[in-house]
Amino acid sequence: MSDQQLARADVMVAVMARQIADGDLVGVGLGTPLAVAAALLARATSAPDAHVLVGGAMDPDADLATVLAGSRAVLGRTPGFVSHLDSMDMAERQAMTLQFLRPAEVDGRGNLNTSRIGPAAAPAVRFPGGLATGDVPALLPRVVAYLPRHRRRNLPPRVSCVTGAAAGWDADRFRARGVTLLVTDLAVIAFDERGATLRSVHPGVEVAAVLDATGFTIAVGDDVEVTPGPDALERAALARIDPDGVRARELRARPTTTDSDRGAPVDERSPQASTRSGS
């Protein structure tokens, strides 16, 4: 990987980690290394009393590569394993408080698409599917979306299919607010009832470049900050958690496939929900 990819990944991981607070139970999937790295980083630094459920393992005390290797690799480094149905119950009753999702498309209201491009009967692209992407925006108190590559075609005015819906249902009653934040390799964008607002741009990224790479309208206030990257403590923790830079895997350029030849708006690695299996 390039140094630039790793630097961008570290900003994303730092921002995502700061969404995690003491008391949170975060559900993350083995197919989303950036989100796993963020959860491990938060526990190592700003949120030692947060809990993380990774691929069924509770609070694994191991480096990123070991955690991603699955249950046998973390044996002896976890207090135990949670069955998938139990983890779904944790989400439904909001004992689980936060998940990170990586969709194919996000629109200006915070709707997520992991399903397809084009009509259901004859889609131009059918993605592998979103697992719980359709479910958790209406279940959890907080859902944060992330995109390893901020490109116009991933950020259209309106998603091709609403797999997971932005807020707007009977949300207040259930304390679920849909996707409230999007973290990309360029910027941090917040969603509320008024739409999308540019919260910050990453170091070295111009506001104009973000707007140019975004298909939907973003409100830009006077207070757009530069995203704070990892501080010294966080950098030290990342070096311990992931000395080999596994976290940057999702930012790497990928080989072309039939689908991307046809103009798929994502890389071949499928959009990921939080609970998919390891391999």
Binding site: G56, G70, H84, A121, R126, A132, L139, V162, R276, S277
Partner: protein
């Protein structure tokens, strides 16, 4: 009652047009030997249900055995898209019923629990969930509205597991595989249960490690000793995913020769 059975006999006994649940998760524990036997037996028009599909769906599509696919994910994990599924969904040659985790597993849970429906908050506002056409129900206590998921009872669930006794007590390894419990859920939702295993072991071996038993003989209809029956997907604790074979299959755009076991493998 469990019968130790022959793969081709059991697969050939699945009627065309059946609803078949396939166990495993993406590239792990997929009952691929059974799937091949279904194709070889000429079974057609299956309504395939699988929580997360991969080469199982690919082989059935290649064998022209599928009428519909109901799943929350069909792909090859980190390897990429499932080429035949992607093509079939685009061309509309198979009925592609996209589910979410909650809609698919909630339906199986309702069946396994024996209740008429399962209410959930999940999926509000989702076009994918709306397209499934399920009703909503009003909570008589709070007045709130919930999605009401009806039971899904597959005609047969097929799982690949580590080992079982001749009586049909099925054991899974420790530490637990991620999503192992979804296989058990599907078995308890289905009318009939077929388990292919790496090894049939004596009852005494099972009894010596009862904490590993996840399904019991009374709820398993057939056990088929099928070593390597999940290859190239993982079959813990015996072997991991053969990533090279899966990558070769993906790179070829769906060449079944890539899924032939050779002497080199």
């Amino acid at each position: 009652m469990t019968a130790l059975a022959d793969l081709d006999t059991i697969a050939g006994g699945v009627a065309s047009g059946s609803c078949v649940y396939l166990g495993g998760a993406v590239l792990r524990r997929k009952p691929l030997a059974f799937v091949r036997a279904l194709v070889a037996a000429g079974v057609r028009d299956l309504d395939v249900v699988t929580f997360t599909g991969s080469l199982d769906v690919e082989l059935l599509l290649a064998g022209d055995a599928v009428r519909s696919i109901s799943s929350a994910y069909v792909g090859l994990g980190s390897v990429g898209f499932a080429p035949r599924f992607s093509a079939a969904a685009r061309a509309g040659t198979v009925r592609d019923v996209e589910h979410t985790e909650w809609t698919l597993l909630g339906r199986l849970r309702a069946a396994a629990m024996g209740v008429p429906f399962l209410p959930t908050r999940a999926g509000a506002g989702s076009e994918v969930v709306d397209a499934l056409g399920f009703e909503r129900v009003r909570d008589p206590y709070s007045g709130a509205s919930y999605l009401a998921l009806p039971p899904l009872r597959p005609d047969v669930a097929v799982l690949h597991a580590w080992r079982a006794s001749p009586a049909g007590d099925v054991q899974l390894p420790w530490p637990p595989e991620h999503l192992w419990d979804v296989d058990v859920l599907a078995a308890r939702a289905a009318e009939r249960v077929v388990v292919t295993v790496e090894e049939v072991v004596p009852e005494a071996t099972v009894a010596a490690a009862p904490e590993l038993t996840r399904l019991f003989g009374f709820e398993v209809d057939a056990v088929v000793e099928t070593p390597g029956g999940a290859w190239p997907t993982a079959s813990p604790p015996v072997h991991d995913t053969d990533e090279a074979a899966v990558a070769a299959y993906a790179a070829s755009g769906g060449d079944l020769d890539a899924l032939q076991r050779t002497a080199a493998r």
